[in-house]
């Protein structure tokens, strides 16, 4: 199967290792991976801030970049949700573009659900953790998979998976919100990190670059011994496709 990788701007810039893991995993499970070089951003920050003309233009551009491919995979839940759910209505008054957006929505997959539903990979069976893990459930994954799904992927091989008290608590990022209302965003971050730290686990699975930026930076500032990894990184490490991170 040929798969076009939609890396997303944050993963591209801040978390290249996640992209690397995704590429190697997809290849490992038999996919041919392409990376259309013209890709940038799906327009989510503009959409969330109410700049919908700008968001529509960027989404339209996405449809052109990915037009040649039958299948698009992205490691980011929020970008997948943007492309699949929030994006298409933005182009409603331009029928051909809208059509294209709906096609893109249809063929775009969030990485974990792609492994599960398209490649039938038993993630839980393949993962190896050497330590207790906890997880962050990205709010924007809600339309794609549930916290229970995420737990299911982690649980297996007798892993010690520690569920935070409120598994679906937001990390406080929220895009522009994080810098427009930094005090509130920071307070939400405190709540989140407190719950994560209280699990006693030191490794946090976080399948969302934006949340990771917020929580890693927050944990570092607060001196909390929490490390964050995308599930793809853990799976790639378990399969020997990626050197374990330092």
């Amino acid at each position: 199967m040929e798969v076009a990788l939609f890396a997303t701007c944050l993963t591209d810039t801040f978390y290249p290792r996640v992209g690397q893991a995704v590429v190697r995993l997809l290849r490992h499970f038999g996919c041919r991976v392409c990376f259309p070089d013209g890709q940038t951003c799906c327009g989510q920050p503009a959409y969330n801030s109410g700049f919908h003309a700008e968001a529509a233009a960027l989404l339209h551009r996405m449809t052109r970049v990915f037009a040649p491919y039958a299948c698009v995979v992205t490691p980011s839940a929020s970008c997948a949700a943007m492309v699949k759910h929030h994006g298409p209505p933005l182009l409603a008054d331009n029928p051909p573009a809208h059509e294209a957006a709906l096609r893109l929505a249809d063929k775009t997959w969030e990485f974990n659900t792609f492994l599960r539903d398209q490649l039938n990979v038993d993630v839980a069976g393949l993962l190896r953790f050497e330590e207790p893990v906890t997880f962050h459930y990205p709010c924007h994954a809600r339309e794609l998979y549930s916290p229970a799904d995420l737990q299911g992927w982690l649980r297996g091989n007798g892993h010690d998976v520690r569920t935070p008290v409120h598994a679906d608590l937001c990390c406080g990022f929220g895009g522009v919100f994080a810098v427009e209302f930094p005090e509130v965003s920071g307070a939400m971050l405190d709540d989140k990190l407190t719950e994560l730290a209280a699990t006693g686990a030191t490794l946090v699975i976080c399948n969302e670059a934006a949340c990771a930026l917020q929580m890693m930076g927050g944990a570092r500032r607060r001196g909390l011994p929490l490390r964050f990894k995308h599930l793809a990184e853990c799976l790639a490490e378990s399969l020997g496709l990626l050197e374990p991170a330092a």
Partner: protein, 469 residues
């Protein structure tokens, strides 16, 4: 406090009040868990929620005829139905009812519509004493405070604050025991209930088919209010209608569970007309004041769905922003997620910043018993005010979108960022080492900033990853 500007400062200030933040954390978490347990015990939660949303939306989509039916039925039963186009008219109508009948002492059951129109002030000015009888509202009233939650008005207060207010205002012995404080309030209000001549309530629902008002309460003050006084006035938003009696249980099954985790409120009271001939007790007159106050405008726009709200408060309890700032920071009768949608629609400009104060985490939608897609509505409201966003932000957003439309510029920006961001070898930027204090401060005040690693993903790809096998 300036209501038109400085939302960020207002929220930040609210968050600094540790006592409030602690109280709200405690109470909201408790309610979140109670709600979750209650829903988990409900056999057909998802189907009920779908149906409740359908009933509410259907009613809004056909409101005129249901309103008409309600008015017809209620009038036939002997109620007097009034219409108030706005807050002033509502106050004037109620004051007129009171003054023309020489009513002097009003008891009030908790009602958001009366808060919305500031009825107490108007009645006071007209020479009618109004006593709030819901325990929380009573404490708010004697402490000259404002409610901070639509269900739990004193969610921001701890027991010491309540105790001080009661000792000071009622002259009772100081006690911090909630049971004892409740007993004191009961005694105090019993005396009022004996003497009152006007009862004021809102209504949770108004049933078109039967002309019935439905009132859901826990303390019994609502029942007292519609039992003791000679005259009962209900101020009811026009959106509170539901079509038939049989539609009520669908919503009742969800309402109290959403609010407090109870299967039903302690008292669900159905009021169909005033006291009947021969009835032992009850009000001789029932006045129903139907309130528009901006609702018809909302009905005609793209935000109609927000009027499905049954005011259960679940979205407030679930909201991580509300939890960290409390209700006063919203500067509106309606705080929290539903308030962030409703307030700008009702009050316009002074509240128009509220929709931005959300991370769009979606928990409000998740818990809403009538499936109001609050995050989507918040985003939609943000589009409405983009022209009035700070100039810098607008420019930045446009420049960013322009650059993102040009991959070469995007790549250049990526590289520039790596070059320009300070590098002390740790891979991080924190408060101390970055050069651009101002633009990055909003981020680095709360968290360190990860420095982009030396190679972006696309560089890794070009540098060999793309050709790997």
């Amino acid at each position: 406090m300036n209501p038109t500007s400085g939302l960020r400062a207002r929220l930040a200030e609210a968050h600094r009040d540790q006592r409030v933040v602690d109280a709200v954390h405690l109470a909201t978490w408790r309610k979140v868990e109670a709600r979750a347990d209650a829903m988990a015990g409900l056999r057909h939660y998802a189907a009920l929620r779908d149906r409740a949303a359908q009933i509410r939306q259907h009613t809004l989509d056909h409101l005129p005829q249901y309103l008409e039916q309600f008015v017809e039925r209620a009038t036939a039963l002997g109620a007097t139905v009034h219409f108030a186009a706005n807050a002033d008219a509502a106050c004037a109508t109620v004051c007129d009812i009171a003054v023309s009948r020489g009513l002097k002492l009003a008891v009030k059951s908790k009602s958001m519509t009366t808060e919305e129109v500031h009825l107490n002030d108007a009645l006071l000015a007209a020479g009618v004493r109004v006593v709030e009888t819901d325990l929380g509202e009573f404490i708010v009233q004697i402490d000259r405070d404002r409610p901070s939650h639509i269900i739990t008005p004193i969610i921001h207060k701890d027991r010491r604050q309540v105790a001080r207010a009661m000792a000071r205002e009622l002259g009772c012995p100081y006690t911090e025991d909630p049971a004892e404080m409740t007993r004191i309030a009961r005694q105090h209000l019993r005396d009022i209930f004996r003497r009152c001549d006007l009862g004021i309530t809102g209504a949770n629902f108004a049933v078109a088919e039967t002309g019935t008002l439905c009132l859901v309460t826990n303390e019994g003050n609502g029942r007292m209010t519609v039992t003791r006084p000679r005259v009962h006035v209900a101020l009811v938003g026009i959106e509170k209608i539901i079509p038939r009696l049989i539609d009520l249980p669908v919503i009742l099954k969800l309402l109290a569970r959403s609010s407090t985790g109870q299967p039903l409120g302690a008292y669900t009271t159905l009021i169909t007309g005033p006291r009947r001939e021969g009835d032992v007790d009850g009000p001789e007159e029932l006045h129903i004041v139907l309130l528009d106050n901006g609702r018809s405008r909302i009905l005609s726009g793209p935000f109609r769905e927000v009027l499905r709200c049954v005011r259960c408060g679940a979205c407030l309890n679930a909201c991580p922003v509300y939890r960290n700032v409390g209700g006063h920071a919203y500067n509106s009768v309606y705080p929290g997620p539903i308030g962030s949608v409703l307030s700008p629609l009702l009050y316009g400009r002074p509240a128009e910043e509220l929709p931005r104060a959300s991370s769009l985490c979606g928990l409000c939608y998740q818990v809403c018993p009538v499936k109001i897609d609050i995050p989507r509505l918040l985003v939609q409201l943000r589009t409405a005010t983009r022209a009035r966003q700070p100039r810098g932000k607008r420019l930045l957003m446009r420049a960013w979108a322009w650059a993102m439309d040009r991959p070469w510029l995007y790549r250049l920006a990526q590289r520039l960022m790596r070059r320009l961001l300070p590098d002390d070898g740790t891979g991080w930027i924190n408060r101390d080492n970055h050069l651009f204090r101002r633009p990055l401060r909003a981020w680095t005040a709360q968290r360190d900033l990860l420095r982009p690693p030396p190679q972006s993903f696309r560089e890794l790809w070009k540098g060999g990853l793309g050709d790997e096998r």
